[in-house]
């Protein structure tokens, strides 16, 4: 008979950070490299890989606080210690619910944003 498992494993719960003008509902962070060069040897097998020009893309969704206004694209938004350049902001509402703001931004390897 298997021994009952009486231990637990702590996991990462919910969001990394908060925000001053919305109650954050979700975050989505994707990191990728714009440069990815594969060098093949004589047999056609990749023997060298160069990855560079890393960027971190973030999508944040939250409910707008009363009296607050969403930021505009080009402004800097800091989340979990990383400063992103906002590139797209959507402010949407319905006639029976809270207003939701979705912000998409990028942090580029070669651009200092603070």
């Amino acid at each position: 008979m298997a021994t009952p498992q009486t231990y637990g494993t702590a996991l990462t719960w919910a969001l990394y950070d908060t925000n001053s003008f919305v109650i954050l509902q979700s975050d989505d962070i994707a990191v990728s490299d714009a440069i990815m060069v594969e060098v093949m040897n004589e047999s056609g097998v990749v023997s060298t890989l160069r990855m560079d020009d890393q960027r971190s893309e973030i999508t944040l969704t939250g409910v707008l606080k009363q009296g607050s206004t969403p930021p505009i694209p080009t402004s800097i938004l800091t989340y979990a210690g990383v400063s992103y350049i906002l590139q797209n902001v959507t402010d949407s509402g319905t006639n029976n619910g809270f207003r939701r703001v979705t912000m998409k931004g990028k942090k580029y390897q070669g651009i200092t944003t603070g």
Binding site: A14, I23, L24, Q25, V63, N96, G97, F98
Partner: protein, 146 residues
Amino acid sequence: MTTTYYGIRTITEQSLLAWFTTNATLFPNVQIVCGQTDQIRSLPIIILHAESATAHPDLGGTPVGNFLVDVKIYVYSSADDSTREQHQARVEASQAIMQNFAGLQSSWTQGGLYFAQIVNDNESVADRRYGNVLHYSLVAVYPPAS
């Protein structure tokens, strides 16, 4: 420093009572009470009951004092001393008061009211009583921290 405590159902019932009391001329000789009361009840009566409150689901794990409140407004009349028309007039007046959202909002005693929507109006007759239950869904918030 003292901590202020709130109860969203209490705030809702007290606010509804304030708004109905403001419009009391529409209900001559009708007792208007909150759901939680030790008052002696007599017919005709309107009971303002915040039956349940739920953290607003749109805010996920951080509802920050925002609630979805289920309100039932009970309108009872006795067939011995009211006509059916008089009872219906009380029901219609109750609905009209609730449709005046700006008035209801301004009567809110603590925090704020975002939204009020009628869900349904159910009618029944029992033991020579006319009874209607008006079901409303409200979205409200506690006052901010002071």
